[in-house]
Amino acid sequence: MIEIRWHGRGGQGAKTASLLLADAAFNTGKYIQGFPEYGPERMGAPITAYNRISETPIRVHSNIYEPNYVVIVDDSLIGSVNVLDGLKDDGAILINTNQDISTLREKLGNYTGRLYTIDATKISRELLKANYPNTAMLAAIVHIADIMSKDELLREMEGSFKHKFVRKPEVIAPNMEAVRRGFDEIVGG
């Protein structure tokens, strides 16, 4: 079973991203859970969301304390939220950022485990002309956690965008490009 913890800020769509990831994994035949930790939600306040993805039915119903992967949608959370808490030794962290790996390692208390970055905000700004980093983040975590192949992901996302943007078909192509770039433009290891 793969366990993923998302860190974001209210309004940035970390919850939506966790639900999209659950959807994509579900469509490839997996058992899934996608759930946010509901706190006193406010725009900009730190929020947490979770995913479990498994080949067998999932019975556990608690939050995730020892994730395989941590995904950080907003790099300003580093330092104010203990994003590494419980992360498995062989786990990995994925950060949406334009900072370089060595700077981030330092900010994470000289963290030496697997660390990946993706500039999902830049990808989104270039392609969608707005800050919706979810799509590229989703593709990046699918790649890192090896949840499905790139072809499977593209097929899944295309289906989901066609459904979601039925009245705005012009945004399907740039969103698909964001998926491709999110999958391909990961830095680190």
């Binding site: 659950a22 899934i32 996608g34 759930f35 509901y38 999932i58 019975r59 556990v60 608690s62 304390y65």
Partner: protein, 395 residues
């Protein structure tokens, strides 16, 4: 045919309601059950149900509208949580007293004060004596299945039914689920044909007039008898459901209990976490087991002691507190049933997860560790623990 889907608990229940297509739904939104009237009003607006949706101004009015519609002869459903259920309190007794088969969905949430929107079972446990059948659900699948079965159980038992599942943990978590086809559900629930109803133009009746002492007493005994007989009805409806879906439900679920030496009784979503813990203990040759009540009303008072009597130590977990200076409701009722059956098992009570305080596998493991100690020494240090808050636990 079944449909593979992924839905949150609230989506699953709203979908069941859509497929049931009841005559009337009256509801007032409250977290975490808000999504149910929200989704359902969409179904009404886009014509996928023919239900009369009554958007009322409070939960007291919601259940009152349900009572009126049900007395008139309609198939009726509603949904609520927490303070909403508390506000319904006086009307709940009227629903059951008039023997109205209303299905009330309860996404369980803590009661104020302090204000808290998260899950525990204080709301439905607080109305446990209101004459509603209560079915508890571990997962979105069980919430969906019990919603479908509740309609039939209510109409056969002539008692209202609450379908209870954990707020947020189940209501807002997206998980895999297997749905039934619309036609399967329509065939399963059938057409509601009330024996007596106010809009029956062939027969003039009144409902809810004054009872003098003896009639009142007799009528209250009728309700108690109806609840007792509901056990068989739940079993029959569940049997019929299993024939359609292959999913078999009893009054309670046993997990590796028959050869267990230590066991816990726990409701709803925590039972899933506890099953994983049972498996991990079994790998170490520790004979742990679990019993998850599905029906708390009616209480399987004969069956439960019989299932638990072979244990060396038992913990009954309560996600609500009776604030009686002693224990929680599940503990007091099950140990009472055990005493009446002459069963003497060393039993402790754990209050847990109030206000949504997360329950981890390690917390459940702590309970089983205590039970191993009790089984070994035969000594019970104290009856009631507060899981996660013992020894100055983290708050």
């Amino acid at each position: 045919m079944s449909i593979r889907e992924r839905l949150s608990g609230n989506e699953a229940v709203a979908t069941a309601m859509k497929q049931i297509n009841p005559d009337v739904v009256a509801a007032y939104p409250i977290t975490p059950s808000t999504e149910i009237p929200q989704y359902f009003s969409n179904f009404v607006a886009n014509g996928s149900v023919t239900t009369e949706f009554v958007p009322v101004e409070s939960e007291h009015s919601a259940i009152s509208a349900c009572i009126g519609a049900s007395a008139a002869g309609s198939r009726v459903m509603s949904a609520t949580s927490s303070q909403g259920l508390a506000l319904m309190f006086e009307m709940l007794y009227i629903a059951s007293g008039l023997r109205l088969p209303i299905v009330l969905i309860v996404a369980n949430r803590a009661l104020s004060a302090p204000i808290n929107i998260h899950n525990d079972h204080s709301d439905s446990m607080g109305v446990r004596d209101a004459g509603f059948i209560q079915l508890y659900c571990e997962s979105n699948q069980e919430a969906y299945d019990n919603t479908v079965m509740a309609v039939k159980i209510a109409e056969k038992a002539k008692l209202p039914v609450m379908v209870c599942y954990d707020g947020f943990i189940t209501s807002h978590s997206v998980e895999n689920i297997t749905l039934m086809e619309n036609e399967e559900i329509q065939k399963f629930v059938g057409t509601y044909k009330p024996e007596e109803y106010l809009l029956d133009e062939t027969r003039n009746i009144s409902m809810g007039p004054l009872d003098m002492q003896k009639y009142y007493y007799e009528h209250r005994k009728d309700i108690a008898d109806g609840m007792r007989e509901a056990k068989v009805i739940i079993e029959e409806v569940s049997e019929e459901f299993a024939k359609v879906t292959g999913r078999k439900y009893d009054l309670y679920e046993k997990y590796k209990l028959d050869d267990a030496e230590i066991g816990i009784v726990v409701l709803n979503s925590t039972a899933g976490t506890a099953k994983d813990v049972v498996d991990s203990l079994r790998e170490k040759n520790i004979k742990a087991g679990l019993l998850k009540p599905r029906a708390f009303r009616p209480l399987p008072y004969n069956e439960l002691p019989n299932e638990l009597k072979h244990l060396k130590a038992l913990a009954i977990l309560d996600k609500s507190d009776s604030v009686n200076g002693y224990c929680g409701p599940l503990f007091s009722e099950i140990t009472s049933a055990m005493y009446s059956s002459g069963i003497n098992v060393k039993t402790v009570n754990y209050i847990y997860g109030l206000g949504g305080f997360d329950v981890k596998a390690d917390d459940i493991l702590e309970v089983y560790n205590n039970l191993q100690e009790i089984a070994k020494t035969g000594k019970v240090d104290k009856t009631t623990y507060y899981l996660g808050l013992e020894d100055g636990g983290e708050k």
